[in-house]
């Protein structure tokens, strides 16, 4: 057996919400029987951007804000991998915001876990895009609403790190959605920062659990929108499996798999002599 890196101890503070996120991911990988070597966790910059060191999988530490394009590149180039992108609200909703809308649009199958604590913890307490309206007058950003607004979005969920049973279900559902090729699975986890924004009690009191609604239909985008907006208007947040379109494949071509699902020649098939006849035909187009 080849010895690899010793999984790191989390760097997070006692009571940090991120422990719950990691535990749910760990359990979901085991529940689904996904070997660690077939999994890659990519994380951004921030406190959350260390989770990739902790679970014995392949791990990648992306540039600040760029975890989504990096993960998209991995998922497109090798669709056999279980790809999990992770990061915080600063990484995903501030510096990396431009990529999130396109990740929803492209619907490339991988999972994105956002640990939202509504604060910059690692740099010690600056406001984030999800912080409540403050002195600067800027309104908080809601990624769930944004995700629902993008045509092509197929999976939107929100959990709360303290509600571990639900978070386990949501993490599992997100991984299954992505692994089955249906598309981009977005899971925001409310994950308080005990040092700079300890919101455990107020978030606990502000949640509206759609999973507990008997007649909630997560495949109905319009009603999902309505519920999320109604809750937001009351200063509350919807949690649970908010929207899922599991009607089909992602429609996204990847290396090795074409948009219609047929297999392509392997991306690792590089032998130039094998490809020479096709290359020669290409070259012949340029003959004078």
């Amino acid at each position: 057996m080849t010895a690899t890196y010793p999984p790191a101890e989390p760097i997070w503070c006692a009571g940090c919400g991120h422990f719950g996120v990691q535990a749910s991911l760990d359990r979901a990988l085991d529940t689904l029987g996904i070997p660690r070597h077939e999994t890659i966790i990519l994380a951004g910059i921030g406190c959350s951007g260390t989770i990739q060191n902790n679970l014995g999988t392949y791990g990648y530490h992306a540039l600040h804000g760029r975890v989504l394009p990096s993960a998209t590149g991995v998922a497109l180039a090798d669709p056999s991998l279980t790809v999990v992108a992770a990061g915080g609200d600063g990484d995903g909703y501030a510096i990396g915001m431009g990529h999130l809308v396109h990740a929803f649009r492209r619907n490339v199958p991988f999972t994105y876990l956002v640990m939202n604590n509504a604060i910059y913890g690692l740099t010690k307490g600056q406001r984030s895009p999800t912080s409540p309206r403050g002195e600067d007058g800027a309104a908080p950003f809601d990624a769930v609403s944004m995700g629902l607004s993008v045509t092509g979005t197929t999976f939107v969920a929100r959990g709360f790190t303290r509600r571990s049973a639900q978070l386990d279900r949501l993490t599992l559902a997100a991984l299954e959605h992505a692994r089955s090729g249906r598309g981009f699975a977005f899971l925001e986890v409310l994950s308080p920062c005990v040092n700079y924004n300890d919101t455990y009690p107020e978030w606990e009191a502000a949640l509206h659990d759609v999973d507990a609604e008997a007649d909630y239909n997560p495949s109905d985008r319009a009603s999902a929108f309505r519920v999320v907006a109604e809750q937001a208007a009351q200063g509350r947040m919807a949690v649970g499996l908010i929207y899922r379109d599991d009607s089909g494949g992602s429609g996204q071509a990847t290396a090795g798999v074409m948009a219609d699902g047929r297999a392509r020649p392997a991306a690792a098939d590089l032998d130039p002599t094998r490809h020479a006849p096709v290359l020669q035909k290409l070259l012949d187009r340029y003959r004078v």
């Binding site: 890196y5 590149g73 130039p272 340029y286 003959r287």
Partner: protein, 590 residues
């Protein structure tokens, strides 16, 4: 009108200009194909405004009996579809040149054409509308006239035209052939019978050739070298690499992605590269600037990546459609921190193909970023070339571990210290190969570390890789008089110009030695030796700061021997201009 003498043409400069959409490029392409079939070497460039349609647009072509790889000094034939074309381009016509002016909207403006030139005022658009009901047939009318001017048979011209319009259907072929006939009739009126025009084409031996742009050649080379993933964001003048690879990668099991911006493009490519897939991105200056953080990251995290910079005029958004070489300093030194990187620079289309292969393999061996520095002229101009030899293509994956290799290892550290600085790696999915990849400073396991000792060890390990690949870096191309005291040195679009200038300088009694370094960074020893062996070396480059000369000086070239020949007006240097500037500089030296 009959001209007194028939000129034998072995070096023909053609400029066709009008508004975008007038079909200037079609006329040049038809003539280029015709001349190419005759064995001429052709070089075609476009001058366009950065807009979708309209605006002044010109197509330039040079056809030569020997390979030149650049535009010449002369415009022998000018076809001007409107007044603006004459006003802008008329002064470029040679004194003994021929101008065809579309007089549909009135007489040509005074004083814009050389006195000695032959001017044929022909209402091309009016004829096209009158005889063929549509303005757009004027380019086929013009081609008929041009064919008579260069003295080819009507059948030969018709054959080229038929081939050109074949894919548009029989109706398009028939109507364009009729317009061509009209062009012949117009020529008759001017006294140019079939095979009896003012010019005669020199006999040239015909060999197998291709006609290709640098951007296409780069894309083909990447594909041939096993490149299977590309990400890019549209930008002039690099867009064709994206569209070419989007069209052709899928058949090879690959994929080209149009990203939302260049920050995404470089990170998409990095992500793909991490899986062991050969990945590339391409852009021009503004986009390459946005990618700088990603390139540094690939250097630190040790990820194989090819980045093409098809340079255009800067700074900022600059002049998007104009060539420059003002990014060389950014490519060699840009971004945060120190990391090993290589900058290659091709000098013609065949070189683009060859260096794309080298870059793709080198990135794997280096486990880091390899740039290819193109420029707008080299990237977008079409030139004839010997067909690329696919038989010489090889691929190397560097220190890549298979699952079987990993199984035999006691342990696997992603950044294990080695003598050559290169650490063996296994892509995700390899059983037992689980590793951590990060751009943060890290220890051998890939865990973040700020320990001073580790930092120095890791920095030295990464930088050591440059020494490891140094003897595999593509060597330069040297020509001219090897013992000459004077050297000419340049890369990219200046290569062909330097080649021609060297011949003319030798003929003028100034023998020169020439070098096109194909590796710009790190500066190879052979480049420094070339400079040390001369009294002075003219470093020819398209930028205002002499960036290439600065890179050479910083790498140990004797600064007092370097003389910069700079151009940054957005137009490519022509051989005559270079000869003139060097002779003037030599005059001052004496």
């Amino acid at each position: 009108m009959t001209l007194a003498t028939t000129r034998l043409v072995d070096d023909l400069g053609v400029l066709v200009a009008g508004q975008g959409g007038d079909g200037s490029l079609t006329v040049v392409n038809l003539l280029g194909t015709l001349l190419g079939r005759r064995g001429f070497h052709t070089y075609t460039a476009r001058e366009v405004a950065s807009r979708t349609k309209g605006g002044h647009a010109a197509a330039l072509m040079r056809a030569t009996s020997v390979a030149r790889g650049c535009l010449g000094d002369r415009v022998d034939l000018l076809v001007a579809f409107d007044e603006e074309a004459v006003e802008r381009a008329g002064h470029r016509l040679a004194d003994d040149g021929i101008a065809v002016f579309d007089s549909s909207a009135g007489a040509r403006p005074d004083g814009s054409l050389p006195v000695g030139a032959t001017v044929l005022e022909v209402p091309l658009a009016r004829i096209a509308v009158r005889s063929h009901r549509r303005d757009l047939f004027k380019n086929s009318v013009a081609f008929g006239l041009v064919a008579r001017i260069v003295g080819v048979s009507d059948d030969e011209a018709a054959g080229i035209l038929r081939e050109r319009f074949r894919r548009l259907g029989d109706a398009a072929v028939r109507s364009n052939l009729r317009a061509l006939e009209t062009g012949f009739e117009v020529a008759e009126l001017h006294g140019f019978g079939q095979g009896a025009g003012p010019w005669r084409l020199a006999p040239v031996e015909r060999t197998e050739r291709i006609l290709i742009t640098g951007n296409e050649a780069i894309s083909l080379g990447f594909l041939a070298a096993g490149g299977r993933f590309f990400a890019g964001y549209p930008i002039t003048p690099a867009t064709e690499i994206l569209t070419w690879l989007q069209a052709h990668l899928p058949a090879f099991g690959g994929l080209a992605v149009q990203a939302e911006d260049e920050l995404s493009a470089v990170n998409l490519a990095i992500g793909a590269a991490m899986t062991g897939t050969r990945a590339m991105t391409a852009s021009s200056g503004p986009g390459i600037a946005l990618m700088q953080e990603g390139v540094s990251h690939a250097g630190s995290a040790e990820i194989p990546l090819v980045i093409v910079d098809c340079q255009r005029s800067g700074p900022s958004t600059g002049m998007p459609t104009k060539p420059e070489q003002g990014d060389l300093a950014m490519l060699a030194h840009g971004s945060t921190g120190d990391f090993p990187r290589v900058v290659l620079s091709p000098g013609d289309a065949a070189d683009c193909f060859s260096l794309a292969i080298d870059a793709t393999n080198l990135a794997q061996e280096l486990q880091g970023p390899v740039y290819i520095a193109l420029d707008q002229a080299l990237g977008q101009d079409s030139a004839t070339s010997e067909p690329f030899d696919l038989a010489v293509v090889t691929t190397t994956s560097g220190k890549r571990l298979s699952a079987h290799d990993v199984e035999g290892l006691r342990e696997l550290r992603r950044y294990v210290l080695t003598d050559d600085g290169v650490s063996p790696w296994a892509p995700p999915g390899t059983p037992g190969g689980m590793t951590l990849v990060t751009g943060n400073e890290h220890n051998e396991w890939g865990l973040v570390s700020t320990a001073p000792g580790n930092r120095v060890t890791m920095m030295d390990k990464r930088m050591r890789k440059l020494d490891t690949v140094r003897d595999r870096l593509p060597g330069g191309r040297a020509w001219g008089e090897p013992a000459a005291a004077i050297g000419l040195l340049g890369v990219g679009m200046t290569t062909g110009v330097i080649g021609e200038a060297a011949q003319r300088l030798a003929a003028a009694g100034v023998p020169v030695a020439c070098l096109q370094p194909r590796t710009v960074w790190p500066v190879p020893e052979e480049t420094l030796e070339f400079i040390r062996a001369r009294e002075r070396v003219y470093v020819v480059e398209h930028n205002a700061e002499g960036q290439l000369a600065q890179l050479l000086a910083a790498s140990g070239a004797p600064r007092e021997r370097l003389r910069s020949i700079l151009k940054y007006d957005g137009t490519p240097l022509r051989p005559g201009e270079l000869v003139g500037r060097i002779l003037a500089a030599e005059e001052n030296t004496r």
